[in-house]
Structures are given as structure tokens and as C-alpha cells.
Amino acid sequence: MPLTVEEVKHIATLARLELDEQQLAHYCQQLSAILDHVAKLSRVDTTGVPATSGLAAEAVVLRADESRPGLEPETLLRNAASIENGQFKIPPVFDQE
């Protein structure tokens, strides 16, 4: 089932990707071809088959919940595009009215 350009636009919005009309059309065609290929999964009878939820389940061990030294805030802020008073600085999230 091919995707429509509107559907691709919706997916891009969910994924927070700014794409132009040409890109949307291009991805629409490519994603449709990939989805067409993966559609063969619906042919597999999975009645009573549990979903894989992780590969390491039998070996997972959580570490002790103890505090330990981490990286300094200045170190963690070093790669940020914009900082102020030891914090990440971002443009407004809400309208400023």
C-alpha cells in the first residue's frame, strides 16, 4: 500500500524534520517501495509467538543504585550551541504574547 505525500508530511512532522515538497515526493516513493517489501511479514503466521523484547534478558544485571562522580556541568555544556548561567539556552517554546 503506497503512502501519500500527505502521510509522509505527517510522518516528517512527527519526526521533526523540515522537508521541502521535492523531498517529500522523493521520500514518498522510496518509503512506499520499502514498505511494500516489508509487507511480506504479514504472511508469517505468528499465532502464539511471543515478541522478542530484548536479547540480553537472561544476563541483565543492574548496578547498585549508588551515587558516583559524574562529569562536571561546565564539561557537559561545552558542546552546546548556546548557554547562559550554566544552563542550555533555547529560543522560546511558547508564543511570547
Binding site: L14, A51, L55, L76, A81, P92
Partner: protein
């Protein structure tokens, strides 16, 4: 003697013996990198000065050890390259993406840190498809790496930079990562030995996440014996990765294979599903010849069936993009990476991501977002995780009959640069033989078993039971004791 001729273990022996220093060895690697990088483009960053400083420190340690009776680590003073999806403190890291341009990580991945603690020297960061998404390095935002055997061909991917660097003797060994074949396929394309360990065997801490239930860190080297050294050092439980396994890492003793029939009693399974119509005849011939060699070494070869193999590709291209869409949500221009200007925060998100991710990453993020979105989750992601269980059960059933499974790594040898341009599905099909091991979490080892008519390496892979990497390494080592494909080298005359 050109020090770049030496394998890891030979270099290690030369350092221990004295007369050769780690600084000499590191300088020799840096010189060869300088000579061949204009052709190959295997590196995204070469840490020349830092590497030489570390080599000087290694030489001081070697000097101290020579005056005592203690045994040195085989990695002490050995230069290695690291794929640019593993962070190393203070070395720029982009994961092949413009969205991490200028990023300088403040910490080091556990796998790398363990190599460094054993005395290894990080000489640089190698090229990769953007966020390890690809099979050719053509998806790197910083340009393709070229195959040392034929510069018009891809080196494979996504760990193509590491594979090319090892094949061209720029370094004795390197780290790669394998989410769907990204260590094994470039190893095969470049004629080197590459191990994808069992899921959970090597810590993922400091590995830039792509598909968290699939990602594995693994070594690439010029022999199974060399790969075994890196593997042993970096494996084992890490409190910083909850999925890293609390399993004893066996010491890997390769000495026993010196006997006449080293593989006596070993059962090798050959899955029909991995010898498909349309695969390159020379690849099939190379793999079947290699299996005959293993038989002569004492192994028993029987057919096995992995009936759900054909579903590995569709399962992978639901699960990996789904995990990627979540993992890559963190790239928003706030905490790291450049930020595209915008009036409001949402504009910044859309623009930074839309303009700085490359097309393959955008495709996978959208594919994953779609597969996880309301109304489609059960049909795509839920069904894929169920079929994944069936793929895993295929392996469990096969491993009740055989100890290892032998198969091709890829349907073809290295393809020309641009061969799959604009056709992502054709590129995905390159991975059909490597994806199942990631979905099942089992280990896989690729190594060279011949060449095709145009002189390109042919690889074979061995897959084994969970946590039995040592067996795969022993089998490949036995093979490499009686063959010399792994000793062939490209670009010798250019040195």
C-alpha cells in the same frame, strides 16, 4: 623493515623484544596514513600528536617492564583506529553526520577505554556511513572511503573506514560496530577479519546509539589471532551498560590448533537459505572451497535449515529504524551539535534536523516513526518482533545439531561506488546474510577465503552460539594456519 608490514601480534613481539619502539611504530602508521589518505579517505580525524604522546608513555612502560619480570599486555604500544561512532574524550566525533559537526566528546567509550588501559594507542577516528546507517560509507556526510583493492569500489559499510585502514596497513587493527553487518560486510569487502560479538558481550557505553537491541562493538584485524586480542581485552561486564552480559570471558588459547586435525569433532552447518539464486558465482565457490578446507581440518559438514532467513530483511528494516527514530530524537541542536537559527524552539528542531541529517538517516527516522505510529504499531513493529523470535528460534534449533554455521557474508564482492545510488532497497539487499545474526544476537566472524576474477576479496562468515566467539576465532585461526588469503595485501607498492 617497514613496521606497517607487521601484524598486531608481530608488532607486539617486536616491542617486547626491544629495539623497536611504540613511537617508531606509531610514526610508521602516521606516515602511511599521510601517503594513502588522499586516495582512501579512511579517516575522519587523525590524532597524530596525541598518538605520539601516548606512544612515548607506552615506551616508558615497556622500558619499565623489560627491567621486571611482569608480563606486558599484548596491546601495549599498539596503534589502533576507532570508528567514528565510538566516542573518545577530546577527539572530534561526528558519526559521519553534519548534525554532530564540531562535537568534542567529554568521555570515552568503555570498549576504547579498555583498549587504552591495556596500552593501545588511538591513532584516529575512521569514516562511517552517517550514524552507521549504510553498507558502503557512501552515506557519510564527509565523503566515501575507497576500497584499497580497487579505489573505484566501496569498502563496504558502515565500518568501511576501519576495514580499509586495516586492509591498507594504515593500522594493525581497528574497532567497528555491527548493527546489521557493519563489521562483517566491510571486512569481507576489504579482505580482513572482523568479529561481531554476541549481543551484550562488549559494552555499548559511549557507542552513539543506532539500533540499541542490535548494536555491537567488534574488532577488525588482519587475522583471527589479532582480532582475538582486541576482543578479549574489551569484552565483559560494564556497570555503565545494563545490557552488557555478566558472563565470564574465556581466555582465548589458539595454541591447540597446531595439531594435524584441529577441527576434529566440530560440526559445521551449511544453511541452504544463504546460497541464493543471483549471488555472485565466485562468492559461492570461494565459500564452498573454504568449507572443504575446514572439512580437511577434521570438521564434519552437514546441511541445516534457517527457514525464516528471508524475513530477516523486512524484520530488520522495521526494528532498526524504529529504534533509530527514538535514539536520534536527541539531536535537536540543544545540548550538542550546531543549531540552525529559528524564531521559536520548534523551528530550531525542524530546521536543525531537516538540514543536517542526510537522506538515509531521514529515511530511517521516518520509516521508524511510521512503524511506531498510532494504528500501525501492531502491524509493523509488533509483527516484526514476533518474526524476530522465529528467526532466533531457527538458530537455536540449528545449534542443537551443529556447533557453527558457515555462510557467505554478502551476495557479491565490493560493488562500484554509486552502483546503488537512489535505490535504498537495492542497498539494503546487500545485508541479507548478515542481518539474521544481529536479530538473533549470535556472534558472527568474517574472514577472507579467496578473490574473484577482478581481484576483489571474497569473505566467509561463521556464526555460533551465544557467547561462543572463542570457538569461531579458533576455527578461523585453524583455517588461517593452512591458507594465506589473509596475508594478501593491496597497495603494497605505494608504501
Amino acid at each position: 623493515m617497514d613496521l606497517t608490514d607487521l601484524t598486531l601480534l608481530q608488532a607486539s613481539a617486536a616491542l617486547a623484544k626491544g629495539g623497536t619502539s611504540s613511537v617508531d611504530l606509531t610514526r610508521a602508521c602516521l606516515k602511511r596514513i599521510e601517503q594513502l589518505e588522499p586516495t582512501l579517505h579512511a579517516f575522519l580525524y587523525v590524532a597524530g600528536e596525541k598518538a605520539l604522546a601516548a606512544a612515548e608513555e607506552a615506551d616508558r612502560q615497556l622500558e619499565r617492564i623489560s627491567r621486571s619480570t611482569s608480563q606486558e599486555s599484548p596491546l601495549l604500544g599498539i596503534p589502533v583506529a576507532v570508528k567514528d561512532v565510538l566516542v573518545v574524550a577530546d577527539l572530534p566525533c561526528t558519526a559521519g553526520s553534519k548534525i554532530l559537526e564540531g562535537f568534542v566528546p567529554p568521555f570515552t567509550a568503555t570498549a576504547v577505554q579498555r583498549l587504552q588501559a591495556a596500552g593501545a594507542i588511538v591513532i584516529g577516528k575512521t569514516n562511517t556511513d552517517e550514524f552507521a546507517m549504510g553498507s558502503s560509507t557512501e552515506n557519510s556526510a564527509y565523503g566515501v572511503t575507497r576500497n584499497p583493492w580497487a579505489p573505484g569500489r566501496v569498502p563496504g559499510g558502515s565500518s568501511g573506514g576501519s576495514a580499509a585502514a586495516v586492509a591498507a596497513h594504515l593500522v594493525p587493527a581497528a574497532l567497528g560496530t555491527d548493527t546489521g553487518g557493519s563489521v562483517r560486510q566491510p571486512a569481507a569487502f576489504c579482505g580482513v577479519t572482523g568479529l561481531k560479538p554476541t549481543y551484550g558481550r562488549v559494552s555499548r557505553y559511549g557507542l552513539i546509539a543506532y539500533g540499541s537491541s542490535l548494536d555491537c562493538v567488534g574488532p577488525l584485524a588482519r587475522s583471527a589471532a589479532d582480532a582475538a586480542v582486541l576482543f578479549a581485552v574489551m569484552s565483559g561486564r560494564d556497570p555503565l551498560d545494563a545490557t552488557s552480559a555478566d558472563m565470564t570471558v574465556p581466555g582465548i588459547d589458539l595454541a591447540e590448533v597446531r595439531q594435524a586435525s584441529p577441527l576434529q569433532g566440530l560440526m559445521i552447518g551449511i544453511p541452504d537459505e544463504y546460497f541464493v539464486a543471483g549471488m555472485q558465482a565466485e562468492v559461492e565457490a570461494g565459500v564452498r572451497d573454504a568449507i572443504a578446507v575446514l572439512e580437511r581440518l577434521g570438521a564434519t559438514v552437514v546441511p541445516v535449515s534457517l527457514p525464516h532467513t528471508e524475513y530477516a530483511l523486512p524484520v530488520y528494516y522495521i526494528i532498526a529504524p524504529a529504534e533509530a527514530s527514538a535514539n536520534l530524537a536527541r539531536y535537536d541542536g540543544v545540548r550538542y551539535g550546531p543549531r540552525e537559527a529559528g524564531e521559536a524552539m520548534w523551528d530550531v528542531f525542524y530546521r536543525t534536523r531537516g538540514r543536517r541529517f542526510g537522506p538515509e538517516v531521514e529515511r530511517r527516522i521516518m520509516l521508524g516513526t511510521y512503524a511506531l505510529s498510532a494504528g500501525y504499531y501492531d502491524a509493523y513493529y509488533g509483527q516484526a518482533q514476533k518474526v524476530r523470535t522465529l528467526i532466533r528460534r531457527d538458530f537455536e534449533a540449528a545449534f542443537t545439531q551443529v556447533d557453527v554455521i558457515a555462510a557467505p557474508v554478502a551476495p557479491t564482492t565490493a560493488f562500484p561506488i554509486g552502483a546503488h545510488a537512489g535505490d535504498p532497497l537495492a542497498m539494503y539487499l546487500e545485508d541479507i546474510f548478515t542481518l539474521p545474526a544481529n536479530l538473533a544476537g549470535v556472534p558472527g566472524l568474517a574472514f577472507p577465503v579467496g578473490f574473484d576474477g577482478t581481484g576483489l576479496p571474497v569473505g566467509m562468515q561463521l556464526m555460533g552460539r551465544h557467547f561462543q566467539e572463542d570457538l569461531l576465532l579458533r576455527v578461523a585461526h585453524a583455517y588461517q594456519q593452512v591458507t594465506d588469503w589473509h596475508r594478501r595485501r593491496p597497495m603494497r607498492e605505494t608504501a
